[in-house]
């Protein structure tokens, strides 16, 4: 080997070493001040106290929450005696069911949403067609494919089995002796006919009990929260000036860097719950067996005229409805836009999207990377052009967002009636 060859070889080795070293170091590079601020803003510790819900006067009444907890697990709140809220919102699965389309007394057209943190969301359901937790809880109860029962049936159930606890929270139960066992504005033909024969006073009495069921369930659901994840422990470490590399791996940190950087995830998945609570069309395919639905375009119009919305006579604060007062309806951008879900515990709840269309986290990341055209409306995505290793790093990061779901500070798996 001549001197020149030796020098050249040494140079090549040096360059290779420097390149490798800089690649390895890049994942460990310090966060900038702005990035640290962004990371801090995503930490669970940054969640402000749960705001009150003035539309529900018992929202923070512990007796209402206790009543709501028992109602949440009671399968008698259904047409066949086998479906409770907890049938789909299973505590041991983070209050969801792990299947593509929820199954109550029939099969629904949507993926079950988890409950933790929902008390902070201005709009509920994938299309935001409800504007409070209590109004949301009433929807499935009267849906023919979910609980399948009627509001008169539920009012009678309260009178028969929960009278004392109900009255302690809401005052005397109305006299329901003139109300048939099953009647309601939704449901089967018999129930609807029975409802149409009731006078308005009786209908209102039944509806008032029905509404209070929703308010009690909402009071319980306000206690269901996310606990800290590994990601939160990492943020605590790095914002305190520690490297944090004993909390997250290099791949996970690289994934986090992509999450708040080139992958643009934090544009929508921001704040301590990793959601902006808005609605976006991301070109998710529709389910072939279901009719094409328009998502938020329909949901926004629905919630404005909804029977139990903030402005309705069933609300306890009809004058304070900023979300409805300033809502965007009818806009082209709402077409097939769906709610941005929290990414906390996302790895624990496959399949994904409004109809469980995407089976795995890898499928979801592949979807965002390819950014296919929307089947309706316009997708807001553009291809990310991430390499497969970067997609794996993103997935690794998403898995660090898993933590316990807590009810009154205890793991939800033990949250049985």
């Amino acid at each position: 080997m001549t001197n020149r060859t030796r020098t050249a070889t040494a140079l090549v080795v040096l360059i290779l070493w420097a390149t490798l070293a800089s690649t390895a170091a890049s994942t460990r590079t310090r966060w900038t001040t702005a990035q640290l601020e962004e990371l801090r803003s995503m930490s669970i510790t940054e969640l402000p106290p749960l705001p009150p819900d003035p539309t529900n006067r018992v929202a923070d009444d512990p007796r209402a929450a206790d009543l709501g907890r028992r109602l949440f697990f009671d399968t008698r709140l259904s047409s066949n005696g086998r479906v409770a809220c907890s049938t789909c919102h299973q505590p041991e699965r983070g209050f969801q069911d792990g299947i593509a389309l929820a199954v109550g007394v029939g099969t629904t057209a949507r993926r079950t949403m988890p409950i933790a943190g929902m008390a902070r969301s201005p709009f509920l359901f994938w299309d935001g067609r409800k504007d409070s937790l209590w109004a949301q809880a009433l929807g499935p109860l009267e849906s023919p494919v979910e609980h399948g029962g009627t509001r008169a049936q539920y009012a009678h159930l309260i009178a028969a089995h929960y009278r004392r606890d109900y009255e302690a929270v809401f005052g005397p139960l109305p006299d329901l002796s003139a109300v048939p066992g099953s009647a309601g504005p939704a449901g089967d033909a018999t129930a609807m006919t029975a409802w149409s024969t009731l006078n308005e006073t009786l209908r209102d009495l039944v509806t008032s009990v029905f509404v209070n069921i929703g308010k009690a369930i909402a009071a319980y659901e306000r206690h269901i929260v996310f606990g800290a994840s590994r990601f939160d422990r990492y943020v605590a470490a790095v914002t305190a000036g520690h490297p944090g590399d004993d909390v997250l791996t290099e791949d996970e940190i690289a994934g986090l860097r992509l999450f708040i950087g080139r992958a643009n995830c934090s544009q929508c998945h921001n704040g301590p719950l990793l959601t902006n609570n808005e609605f976006h069309n991301t070109g998710v395919p529709s389910r072939p067996e279901l009719p094409l639905d328009r998502g938020r375009l329909t949901g926004a119009t629905t919630v404005v005229g909804e029977e139990f919305n903030c402005r309705s006579r069933w609300s306890d604060a009809r004058q304070r409805c900023a979300e409805l007062d300033f809502i965007v309806t009818g806009a082209h951008t709402l077409d097939r836009a769906y709610k941005v879900p929290s990414l906390r515990n996302v790895a624990e709840r496959a399949p994904y999207m409004d109809g469980g269309q995407l089976a795995t986290l890898a499928d979801v990341l592949d979807h965002y990377n390819r950014a296919p055209a929307a089947v309706g409306g316009h997708s807001e995505l553009r291809s990310l052009r991430l390499k497969s290793i970067e997609l794996r790093q993103l997935e690794a990061f998403l898995r660090t967002l898993s933590g316990p779901v807590l009810v009154d500070g205890r793991a939800a798996a033990g949250a049985t009636p």
Binding site: Q267, C268, N270, G271, N276, N277, F326, T333, E380, L384
Partner: protein
């Protein structure tokens, strides 16, 4: 053959123009290439309108934070500092770097006199650079003032 050729060119042109129209209309989650203004451009005012008819100042009731419904007062004056009452103000805005508008429809809900107006329903759904535009129709004519806000 020639007709076919012309048709094909037409088809390609139509497809291209449709695609361009689509990409302009939609809100793009991935960058638009808009460049963030210099730090000195980020101000709550006083800020002159485009044609210099008005000077506007924003006074948020609380510091601007993401994901919260907020109320912002705007003070509209003429160049001599006189408050402009009875103006019509239309609120608009968005994130130039992301190509999306405001997630709500904020509007003036109260006129407090001396050129002071209250705008309710303001929400920014993420942190970063937001434009906040006021189209003002008042005694000095029609003009627009755009604020750059760091949320």
């Amino acid at each position: 053959m020639k007709t076919l050729h012309t048709l094909m060119i037409l088809a390609v042109l139509t497809a291209a123009s449709t695609l361009t129209a689509c990409s302009h209309a939609m809100m793009m989650i991935h960058g638009t290439g808009a460049r963030r203004p210099a730090a000195s451009e980020f101000t709550l005012g006083p800020r002159a309108s485009v044609e210099g008819r008005y000077v506007a100042t924003l006074e948020p009731s609380q510091p601007l934070r993401p994901r919260q419904m907020q109320t912002v007062r705007v003070i509209v004056r003429d160049v001599d500092g006189r408050g402009i009452d009875d103006a019509q103000i239309v609120v608009d805005g968005g994130m130039p770097q992301h190509g999306h508008g405001l997630p709500t429809r904020p509007r003036v809900t109260r006129s407090l006199g001396d050129g002071i107006y209250e705008i309710e329903g303001v929400r920014f759904n993420m942190g970063g650079w937001w434009e906040f535009r006021l189209a003002i129709t008042g005694s000095r004519g029609v003009d627009t003032v755009t604020f750059n806000l760091a949320v």
